[in-house]
Each structure stands twice: as structure tokens, then as C-alpha cells.
């Protein structure tokens, strides 16, 4: 086997599963340690530089970090990373003095951002402090985009949005043109901006096409439009019996909002299986906790109505069948149709992009699905001056992806405005630092907590369901937050091996609580994986291989379930093992991303 090249930043980055999984590559263990230390402001600022909306994301993130968390592989559940982010946001002091401000001297470049959602706001945050003059357009009267219009207030209070959008618009050099819908890209391009960023999201909700839909239209709403209407206070009630169609997070927001606006019998109906629903498991749990049943394998067949008034819906019962190639088909289950009486139907069966305002001759190519052709690394369209990001680039995803897109697009715009090749992407900034302070002293807490995942306390259901503006999650208090933070394994504190110091005494092999380390003769990787102290069966986790030992054997460490407890380094008599903190930050727009 080839010795591992730890000089490649990806190697140790992958060991920090949460950070690797995060689209914005937030240094998760770093901020969790700061929370443990009670340094909430510092934890918040680490987050802010990386993901721009810690308070918002600490309540709403789709948390790709948590399924990746190593704790979930060595114990039952991952660290509650997302809700710890909220702890930092909730208990920080005033941090405004630590935020960047626009320089008095502008750099002479003007950038238009269309749509004031998370992607555009991230671009503004990255570019305004560099001297760019940023113009931010949005059709609504306030910034925030889908963060403000589609996430119900009982999950995300308005004050949090105002605060974090304000941190960006207060940087300076950002002109907001809110309440003005852009109807023509060409008219924007005509204003001689140096670059235009499109962050208009996926604003069109998919509609239902079954008999009776048109006749009962007054009582059937498109999920995201209805949520926006609720958000702005135009809608404040719904019928007693509500059916929500769809299995995504929007459907979960619709059903829980309905329950707070007068819906007594709220039912979620999905076409396919409960397990296949797109909604995050915790959002499904939250809905069911509020007494909302989720019925599956029911395909909408007909809308029932009398004199223009909706009375119910008929569904065909289906079952899943798999063909030879493993593809799933929903076929008639041979059971009678199901009729559910209702007063309202909310349709949350998907979102689409929509660019009616981009003219055919604006110099942009669109693919056969009507999506703009966008480079996945640079976010540049076929018109070099126009960049895309967030849901408008590659279809509906979530906030943290929009932030990640925004950072990369800002790098592209910065390089583009300086006449550089935007295809050359900057390497991340990496610092490795030994944590050794004394014989048994490390500058991180290496004692492993045995606690199971803590639940976030909730507002009593009776109170929470009465008012759509009452935040239902109370968040961890500092004590619970500390206990949960202690569950983090500090996966960024890496085990680094120096073969020339090793005397092959086996002390590390003997002490390792999870049998990670093996000294073994060379072989093919698949075969070596089988003969380690514990077979390395997770092929997505790499083996750390080092040669140069006196006996000619290899040191092979399976990174999969390493607890990063540092006992290998504590038991090593020669210092061949060292615990080194790996801190990776993606390179943002600015001098560091440019070659000149």
C-alpha cells in the first residue's frame, strides 16, 4: 500500500466528518470546544465567518454534518451539532464590534445581487468589506428571501432574521433596493455592473393536476406561496380539516403552521413510503409530536367539491414494486380508494426554478430543463458577467448550500473583477498544531463523555400550538449545551504518526479503546482491511498508512471509529504519535483567493 500523503489537506479534512460533510466546511469541533469553554461569542464568530447565519442555521439547518458525525458510529446518536450552534447564537454578547466594515475607499467595482436570500447575502458579506459597491435587489420589503418567507416563525423568530441580515447590510457599501421586482436581466446588465449575481431561489411551487382541482381552487393553496402569505400576515387562519400533500420539509412546515391557525384535523399524505420522504427525520418527528398523522402510499386521484366548496379528496392506495434493475414503481395495491374529507388542501409536492425575467437574448444558455448552464465550481453562467448561486443555480437545496455557493461565487467575482482566471480555485487555509502541553496534558479535553444525546427542551404543546409566533423549541440552556458539547469527540485533533521515532512497542495498539491501530506486513488494501486489529469495513473511511518502520511492517490506522482520545499518544514512549489540531478554513474572496 502507498503511504498516506497527509500533506494533502483533504486527508485530515475527511477525518473531521462533520466539517467535510458541511457544504460551507464550518470548523465544527472548533466552535463546539468554544461552547464548552463558555466562549459563546467566539463560537458565534467562528460560525459567522464560515456560514454567515449561525442563529438561523442553528434552528433550521438541514444539518448534513449530523448523519456524518463519528459519534453516531461509535454510539447511538450524533452530537446535536445544529442546536449547539444555536447555543452560541443565544448566549453570545454583543459581537457587532467584531464584524467587518466597508472601507472608506471603494475599489471602483459595482456588483448587482438579484434576490436577497442567503446566497446573495453571503456574496454581499464577502465582497462589501473588500471595497465593492453592492446593490441588493429583492421583490419583498425586507431581506432574507426564503429564510423570511418560507420558514414559519415558530421555528425561526423574526428577530433572529433581522439581526443576522442586519449584520450584513450594516457592513456598508450595500445599497438595498427592496420591494422592487426585477423583470429584465438585460435592464440590470445595462446598468454597467461589473458582475451580476442571481440568487432568486426556486420560487415556483409545483401544482397538482387531478379532476376537481380547478373547481375547488379557492380552497387549495400552493405550499410555499401559502407559507409566504402566512409569514407576511396576509393569512391568519385555515379550515378545521386540512390535507397537506407532499413529504418534504415544506410539507412539514405547512402542516405544523395549519395546526397553529385553526386546523384541528391536519393530515399529511405522501405518494410513496414514509421512509422515502424527503423531509428530515427530525422534522417528521416534530410534526408527529404535534399530533399530525402522516399517511403513505396514497396517490391523489380526485378533488371532491360541492358548489365550488372543497369537501374532500380521493386517493388511490398503492404499493411499491421493484423491477429487475431495482427501480421502484408504485402500482395499484388492489385496495379500495381512500377518501379524506377536508376544508383545505395545501400542495407541497416540490419546487421549481423560474426565470421568466431572463430574456432569451441576454447572452445566457439554458439547458433542456430550462435551467441556466452554470459551472459547478465557479458558478459562472455562459455570460461571463453573470453568476448564479443557491437554489437558482442547481435547483432546490437548502440554506447551508446557498451559503456555500455564495462564498464560491464571491471568490469567482473577486477574481473576475481583478482579471484573473476564475477556474483556478484557491486552496483552503490549513494550520496543524500540536496539542501537547506536558506529559499528560493536552490543550484539548480528551476525556470522552459517555452521555447519550440530549433532547432540546420544547415549549408545552398547549401553548405552542396556540400562537404561530411562539418559538416551539426553547434551545439548550448553558448547562445542557455544555453537556451536549462534551459529547463531541474532537475529531479535528488528529493522530499524527512519525515512523522514524517508533520503536514498535505495541503500547498504542494495546491502549486503543476502539482497536484502530495495527502494525502489519504490506498487502493489497482490500486484504489488509480484513486483517487489522478490527476489520475496517467502512470503505468510505480511509486508512492512515505509514511505512519506514525498522521491522519493515506498516503502521495502519483505521480512521473510521477513532475516538481522538489521544491515549495512543499518551502511551507512546517516544512521541511517535502526536495529537495535532487540524484547522481548515476555506479561502474566501479577498487577497488570499487571488494570485496577484
Amino acid at each position: 500500500m502507498q503511504p498516506t500523503n497527509v500533506g494533502n489537506p483533504d486527508y485530515f479534512h475527511k477525518v473531521v466528518d462533520c466539517q467535510w460533510a458541511c457544504p460551507a466546511h464550518t470548523p465544527v469541533p472548533e466552535y463546539i470546544r468554544l461552547i464548552s469553554a463558555g466562549r459563546y461569542s467566539d463560537a458565534y464568530v467562528v460560525n459567522w465567518w464560515s456560514n454567515v447565519f449561525p442563529g438561523v442555521l442553528g434552528r433550521t439547518c438541514d444539518r448534513p454534518c449530523e448523519p456524518a458525525c463519528r459519534r453516531g458510529r461509535v454510539e447511538e446518536e450524533p452530537v446535536a451539532i445544529c442546536r449547539l450552534k444555536r447555543v452560541a447564537a443565544d448566549y453570545k454578547d454583543d459581537i457587532t464590534h467584531r464584524l467587518p466594515t466597508a472601507p472608506a475607499q471603494r475599489n471602483g467595482k459595482r456588483i448587482a445581487l438579484i434576490g436577497a436570500g442567503p446566497a446573495s447575502l453571503t456574496v454581499a458579506r464577502d465582497l462589501a468589506p473588500l471595497g465593492y459597491e453592492v446593490v441588493l435587489y429583492d421583490q419583498d420589503k425586507q431581506g432574507g428571501g426564503m429564510i423570511r418567507t418560507q420558514i414559519p416563525k415558530f421555528r425561526l423568530p423574526e428577530a433572529v432574521i433581522d439581526e443576522e441580515v442586519g449584520y450584513i447590510t450594516n457592513i456598508g457599501n450595500i445599497e438595498t433596493r427592496y420591494g422592487k421586482r426585477i423583470d429584465s436581466l438585460k435592464s440590470v446588465l445595462a446598468e454597467n455592473y461589473d458582475a451580476v449575481f442571481v440568487g432568486t431561489g426556486a420560487p415556483r411551487g409545483r401544482d397538482l393536476d387531478v379532476p376537481g382541482r380547478k373547481e375547488a381552487a379557492a380552497h387549495i393553496h400552493i405550499g410555499i406561496d401559502w407559507l409566504a402569505s402566512v409569514s407576511f400576515g396576509h393569512t391568519d387562519k385555515i379550515g378545521k380539516r386540512v390535507i397537506v400533500l407532499g413529504g418534504g420539509n415544506t410539507a412539514m412546515d405547512c402542516c405544523r403552521s395549519s395546526k397553529r391557525l385553526g386546523g384541528e384535523e391536519v393530515t399529511v399524505v405522501v405518494r410513496s413510503g414514509f421512509e422515502e420522504m424527503k423531509a428530515s427525520p427530525w422534522e417528521k418527528e416534530d410534526a408527529m409530536h404535534e399530533g399530525i398523522p402522516i399517511l403513505n402510499y396514497l396517490v391523489p386521484k380526485q378533488v371532491l367539491h360541492e358548489n365550488g366548496k372543497l369537501t374532500g379528496m380521493v386517493f388511490e392506495k398503492v404499493k411499491a414494486e421493484y423491477d429487475d434493475k431495482g427501480r421502484r414503481n408504485l402500482v395499484h395495491a388492489g385496495e379500495p380508494d381512500v377518501t379524506i374529507p377536508c376544508d383545505n388542501v395545501l400542495v407541497a409536492i416540490g419546487q421549481e426554478n423560474s426565470f421568466p425575467w431572463i430574456e432569451k437574448d441576454a447572452g445566457l444558455e439554458f439547458d433542456k430543463w430550462g435551467m441556466p448552464v452554470v459551472d459547478p465550481a465557479t458558478f459562472q453562467s455562459t455570460n461571463p458577467r453573470v453568476f448564479f448561486g443557491g437554489d437558482s443555480a442547481f435547483g432546490p437545496k437548502n440554506i447551508i448550500w446557498a451559503v456555500a455557493h455564495g462564498h464560491e461565487a464571491a471568490v469567482s467575482i473577486d477574481k473576475f473583477c481583478h482579471g484573473e482566471n476564475i477556474a483556478q480555485r484557491p486552496a483552503p487555509q490549513v494550520v496543524m498544531k500540536s496539542q501537547k502541553m506536558g506529559i499528560h496534558e493536552w490543550s484539548y479535553d480528551n476525556e470522552i463523555s459517555n452521555d447519550l444525546r440530549y433532547k432540546v427542551p420544547l415549549k408545552e404543546k398547549e401553548i405552542a400550538l396556540k400562537n404561530i409566533k411562539i418559538e416551539v423549541e426553547l434551545g439548550f440552556d448553558p448547562k445542557l449545551g455544555f453537556a451536549e458539547a462534551q459529547r463531541c469527540l474532537n475529531c479535528d485533533v488528529q493522530t499524527v504518526f512519525a515512523a522514524k521515532l517508533c520503536i514498535e512497542c505495541d503500547a498504542c495498539v494495546d491502549i486503543c479503546p476502539v482497536d484502530c491501530i495495527t502494525f502489519t506486513p504490506d498487502g493489497a488494501e482490500a486484504e489488509v482491511r480484513q486483517r487489522l486489529s478490527a476489520p475496517a469495513i467502512n470503505p468510505t473511511q480511509e486508512l492512515y498508512v505509514q511505512d519506514g518502520l525498522k521491522t519493515g511492517r506498516l503502521m495502519v490506522k483505521d480512521e473510521d471509529v477513532c475516538l481522538h482520545c489521544g491515549l495512543c499518544a499518551e502511551r507512546c514512549p517516544t512521541g511517535a504519535w502526536d495529537m495535532q489540531k487540524f484547522l481548515l478554513e476555506t479561502t474566501k474572496a479577498g487577497a488570499a483567493c487571488r494570485s496577484h
Partner: protein
Amino acid sequence: MTYLAKPKLHHPKLVANALGYTRRDYEGSVSTLCAGCGHDSISAAIVQAIYDLALPPHRIAKLSGIGCSSKTPDYFLGASHGFNSVHGRMPSVLTGANLANRELIYIGVSGDGDSASIGIGQFAHVMRRNVNMLYMVENNGVYGLTKGQFSATADKGSKSKKGATNSDEAIDMVSLAIQMGASFVARSFSGDKEQLVPLVKAAISHPGAAFIDCISPCVAFNNHVGSTKSFDYVRAHNDAVNKLDFITGRTEITANYAPGTVTEVQQHDGSWIRLRKTAEDYDPRDRRNVMSYLEESRAAGEISTGLLYLAAGDEADDLHARMNTLDRPLNQLDTADLVPGSKVLDKLNASLR
């Protein structure tokens, strides 16, 4: 030495043995020995062997004397019985315990100071009585607890960490054990668990005195150039006479060995030892042959390891067999057994008239 206990979290695929215990269940408290100490590897080998044999921890007694090695019973088999005795006196305590309760499995742990200096008399007698036990000497050639003076097993001519040369002859514990009458004698190396673990398993299953002289480098005081008990020196001079597989049931030999290279030996308890010869003409059952081989090997500066001697016939009978004691442990005999009454006494007296 480490201040933190080993975390409770373990590998998610950790396998349980026939008793339902994982290897982690056989561990003891956290070691306070120097980082990298060979003794900790021996503890880990014992844990692995007992786990593999699926022995119930409460059926095992660990006894030791004084010294770095004698501290180690605290670091393995945390749920077993333990007795930390006086310096060099572990053999007599173990003999007494074994006489009183022959049903326990006895593990005596000692060092080169404890067994070759202050306790050499007791060592000799426990071997000649062939007490059923595993006697493990964790042999590092120095007095580690008093900062590295030569012990009685340090080779003549070897150098201390400070540069002094040892002018005295070394006591070879293996030769001594064979001469005294131990019925299972082996030598191994803490840095070679592939050899050590099967030896520990075979020794524990052996019904008699099973002695393992395990070279265990002292990383603090005896792991330098000029030492003959360092990791590098032992690796460079290791002469393994055989490779041993310990098997509880007799399974078919599936691997292809050259004819005459594999010997199978059944022990009294029914377990089998399969020896794969690596040294030509080495027969561990021929005592005279063994003694001359060991002497030649020592003269050549080699360290013979493996299962060096295995007694046959009467020589393998342990203390209980020789004394013709009851199968029942003596500590389970009650007053009725011990005071059988005047009728039995009369009958006994009559038989002597």
C-alpha cells in the same frame, strides 16, 4: 502512565465470546507503568488469551510479588481474584491457594528481581512441585523501580543505560525451570503477540507448572544500544524454535506443511497444541536434547523462543496428582468429611495392626 481511564466506548463490531463477554470485559484498571512498557503488552496478551479461551473471570486467581511486573495484575482481568504478596513469596502463596482450591485457574506474575533474586528459592520449589499454574516472568534485566540497576538475568557483558558493563553471569530462568521440573517451559517476547498469545493459552490449559520467560523491554532503563533486552536486540537475535497453535478441539490440518514439520500434542485437559517446527530437529519433549540446544543457542548469542520444553509421562503429574488429593477442593470439605467418627478410626487402626 496515563491519568485517563480507557474510554468505555468501544469498537461497534466488538465480538463476544462463548460466555457473552467482549475482550474489553477482561481488561483491568488503567496501567500506571511507564508509557511503552513491555509489561503492558503482556497484560494485553493475557487479556486476549483469556477472552479467546472464554474463561469466566471469577474462576481465575492472579498472584504476584513486588516490582513493576507484580503491579500488572491490577491492569488485566479486573473481575478476577487477586493477591499481591511479599517480595519473592508469590510461589508459596500460590502453592497454598492451589492446595486449598484446585478448581481455580492460577496465574502467577513475577519479574526477574522477584523470581531470580529475592525469590529464587521459592521459584525453584514451586517448579519442582509442578504446581498447576501459569508462572509468567516479565523479564527486563533491570530493576526499573529503583532506576535501572542490573538484575540477576542481565547478560554478562551487557551495558547499563549509564554505560556500566555487567560482569556477573546471568541466570537463565528457562534452564532453571527445566532443571527444577517444570512441565511446560517457554520463552517469548512482549513485542510479538502472535507468538505470546497462543503460548499463554496453552500454558493456562496445561495441567502442571507452565513457565513463560517473557522478555519485556524496559523503555525507561533498558532499551538502549548495548542492552540485550531492548526491542531492537531481541528482534535481531530472536531464534524461534517453533510456532505454536493452540486449539481446544482437534481440527483437521488444512494448511500445507512439509512432512515431519508439524507435531500435535494432546494435553491432559483434552486440548491440543500444534507445533510447527522452525528449527531443524528440535524436539521439545526430549529434555537432554533441549538442554544442549539451549546451551548452544546461548553460546551463539541467540535468544531461543517458542515452546521450549513439554514434559511427558509421570513428569507431567502435578502436585495434586503426586499427593493423591481428592478431586474435590480441600476448602470445600466440611466437618463431617474431616472428622469421620470413631468407627472409621477403628477401621483404620485395625488395618494397621
